[in-house]
């Protein structure tokens, strides 16, 4: 293995990690504001992937365009989910909200199955390749990674530099105090869940920029599992933590691979994932609050 190979592996880890980060942000955001663990996060990612697929195949619209559609639809869908289902569950027992979002996840998956069937879908997105340290690197994946970083930056600026962002942070910290100060808490919840859902769907679009194949109603499930790990790693409820957690997760995934390959494990990829979970376990024992505070 030469230096170029090592640099390329790190580059891949950063791109993949950036995408993991933006995918996990939605989950972290919703938990941070409402204390609800959203098990329908994976289904929303899947709908984001279908959005990219549908607009590309029907209207030849690049995912760079369909990401805006996903964001808009996501905000609307998230707000609707709040008012129809989650509003009455705020403050309810954790199991109740888990079951409700799990049911929602099944509903969204079955809806996709009705619309698209069970076939694996994919679209032929090719934006070109560039030479990166002597290896061919997909431009669409690179754009996906950059887009993920841009979206995360915009969300952070929104949360920390605008009045609405301050209101969201206030509700996240103390909903009763925020209510006393005149903030419409329900509206903030709706916006928060809307934003979380929008990021989940946008994450789905960006995930297809990395690999625009294998889209089916269960597409989001592996991402849901990874998102949980990432948000716990980064600190539950922290947007920046989720993004950096994603970067760490992506880097670990790509850098551990050649080590296990060199050690001649029959499935280096599985071993890399296994080690990531071990690291997470140790980290939680040593620092249960995650790497970043809310």
């Amino acid at each position: 293995m030469d230096l170029n190979n090592i640099f390329f592996i790190i580059y891949q880890g950063l791109v993949l990690g950036s995408i993991y980060g933006v995918i996990a942000i939605g989950l972290s955001l919703i938990f941070g504001i409402t204390r609800i663990i959203n098990l329908s996060h994976g289904a929303l990612i899947m709908w984001g992937a279908y959005t990219a697929f549908t607009f590309f195949t029907l209207y030849n619209l690049s995912p760079l365009g369909s990401i805006f559609i996903a964001l808009v639809v996501g905000i609307g869908l998230g707000a609707a989910i709040f008012y129809v289902i989650l509003k009455r569950l705020i403050g309810a027992h954790e199991l109740t909200t888990l079951l409700a979002t799990f049911a929602l996840s099944i509903f969204l998956q079955e809806l996709a199955r009705l619309r698209y069937g069970l076939d694996y879908r994919g679209y032929n997105l090719y934006m070109g390749s560039i030479n990166m340290f002597g290896y061919g690197a997909s431009l669409s994946a690179l754009y996906g990674g950059i887009l993920a970083l841009v979206l995360t930056t915009l969300l952070t600026l929104f949360l920390y530099k605008t009045r609405l962002g301050a209101a969201i942070r206030a509700v996240a910290q103390d909903p009763v105090g925020a209510y006393v100060c005149g903030i419409d808490v329900n509206k903030i919840y709706a916006i928060g869940i809307g934003l979380g859902s929008a990021f989940a769907m946008a994450g789905g679009v960006i995930a297809t920029m990395y690999s625009p194949t294998g889209i089916n109603p269960y597409y989001g499930e592996p991402y849901l599992l990874k998102s949980f790990v990432i948000v716990v790693l980064g600190g539950l409820g922290s947007v920046i933590g989720a993004y950096i957690g994603g970067l760490i997760f992506g880097l670990a995934e790509t850098t551990l691979f050649p080590i296990y390959d060199y050690l001649n494990f029959h499935s280096p990829s599985s071993m890399a994932l296994f080690t990531e979970f071990i690291i997470l376990l140790l980290l939680l024992l040593l620092r249960p609050q995650g790497l970043f505070k809310r």
Partner: protein, 474 residues
């Protein structure tokens, strides 16, 4: 206290890793073709004793000769009005798409048997077939309960298997428990037939033989190829890889990279980064659909080229070409059956085999009637389901009995040709040894049969164009 927990966990992890590492370095026998010694004897009715000994690789399996069962002039028990076949099949769930195709093929074959052939010929009478089925929703739990229900409540005469290796793996012990014959058209893993089951008979080629033809085809174009072998870490593809490994070793073909990937893989770039510098000639992949698509996409994005790419399942579907267009050109897929590559009565005669069943055209006609689409193209899963019905009918007639054990015994020395191909099992395990895979390759937007040469409709394209050449339109 926390420190104690941490210490315990660290020690546990270290011990696990050491164990795994040591286990990983111990040379393992290839799981696919291990000879298992399961000596057992079972008594068939009151007449014969069949001794079944070991499973050995198909080529060296000595045929077990079984005295022919002479048809009784009259049945010992009154004949039923219908012969009921039981089926638990995934019509929905993750295997729903393919399970449905197999189900439609089964219906088409039953329709042919009842309408054209006139029913099963038993003691001078013809008895129609009836299908009793349940949708197991691709669930292992459901396939187990429905299989038991079909045997104990619905009292079916025989069973056809579910679709996919995990589901057939789950239902086989149930059939075995009740001594019920299970005709396996949907589970390709060799392991199903290496558990010592006596009542399971396989219709299509087992997984370990899937890529054998691909290696033969590769050798026809390149005498000293270097192969990269990647496979999904599941029951089915581990067997596929074991078959490639064994056959390559036998022929002295060099495998320069041999690794599994996880079942829910979302990124092949770490693999591609490591195999790119190896400059191998061929890539052989034990895949399913989503992973096969993903690998194609990422190989093309990273511009990593091979002169020969053979991949399971994904390229066999039209959706693959829809997704990749010209990038699919030259990609090879092993298939059990394709339109235009069917056996015919003439081929059967040439091979000295008995012919049974509809012709390819007849099967397609009935399949289209069942599907309700005059342009429907039956996939090989549909043909395999149909073949299961046909071989079962022939075995019942040969046994002249509805006793599952006698019919199972009749399968032992049955050699038959249907439109799906040859049928012959290894008597000890019930594994299929007669049926051969074919190779199809995407050429100018069409999936054409390129191997074996005797049924090929086009010449093997080798080397295939590079990704850049394909993008440029050549």
């Amino acid at each position: 206290m926390n420190k104690l927990y941490i210490a315990i966990i660290i020690v546990a992890i270290i011990m696990f890793l050491v164990g795994y590492l040591v286990g990983g370095f111990i040379p393992r026998a290839p799981t696919g073709l291990v000879t298992v010694s399961i000596p057992y004897t079972y008594t068939v009715s009151t007449v014969k004793t069949v001794t079944m000994t070991t499973y050995s690789p198909p080529a060296t399996t000595p045929p077990v000769t079984t005295p022919a069962t002479s048809p009784s002039p009259t049945p010992l028990t009154p004949l039923p009005e219908k012969i009921v076949i039981g089926l638990s099949v995934p019509l929905t769930g993750s295997q729903g798409e393919v399970g449905t195709a197999g189900f439609k093929g089964i219906l088409a074959a039953i329709k042919w048997v009842n309408e054209v052939y006139g029913g099963v010929h038993l003691f001078g009478k013809t008895i129609p077939l009836e299908l009793k089925y349940y949708d197991d929703e691709s669930s292992k739990d459901k396939v187990i309960s429905y299989t038991e229900r079909l045997i104990t409540v619905d009292k079916v005469h025989f069973l056809l298997s579910s679709y996919s290796s995990p589901l057939v793996f789950a239902q086989a012990p149930i059939a075995e428990k009740y001594n019920m014959l299970l005709v396996n058209w949907g589970g390709a893993s060799d392991l199903i037939h290496m558990q010592g089951y006596k009542m399971v008979v396989m219709v299509w080629t087992p997984a370990s033989q899937y890529m054998i033809q691909a290696i033969d085809a590769l050798l026809s174009a390149n005498k000293q190829p270097k192969i990269v072998l990647l496979y999904k870490d599941d029951e089915f593809n581990r067997m596929v890889a074991a078959g490639v490994r064994n056959y390559s070793k036998k022929l002295g073909v060099e495998i320069v990279y041999d690794k599994a990937y996880p079942t829910d893989i979302k990124d092949f770039t770490p693999y591609i980064t490591l195999i790119a510098p190896l400059k191998a000639d061929a890539l052989i992949v034990g895949s399913h659909f989503a992973d096969g698509q993903l690998l194609t996409k990422q190989l093309s994005d990273q511009n990593v080229n091979f002169a020969f790419i053979a991949m399971n399942i994904a390229p066999c579907y039209m959706d693959y070409y829809k997704a990749f267009g010209k990038l699919a050109e030259g990609i090879i897929c092993p298939s059990h059956w394709e339109i235009g590559a069917s056996y015919t009565p003439e081929i059967a005669t040439k091979l000295g085999l008995e012919w049974f069943g509809p012709s390819e055209d007849e099967f397609i006609k009935y399949y289209r009637e069942i599907v309700g689409d005059p342009n429907a193209r039956p996939p090989y899963h549909a043909a395999s389901g149909a073949a299961a019905v046909l071989v079962l009918v022939k075995a019942i007639e040969k046994a002249q009995s509805l006793d599952p054990i006698k019919v199972r015994q009749a399968f032992n020395d049955m050699r038959l040709a249907t439109f799906f191909g040859e049928f012959k099992i290894d008597p000890a395990t019930g594994i299929q040894i007669g049926h051969k895979m074919i190779l199809v390759q995407w050429q100018k937007g069409n999936l054409v049969v390129v191997w074996p040469p005797e049924v090929a409709k086009a010449k093997l394209m080798y080397p295939i164009p590079t990704w850049d050449q394909k993008r440029a339109g050549s």
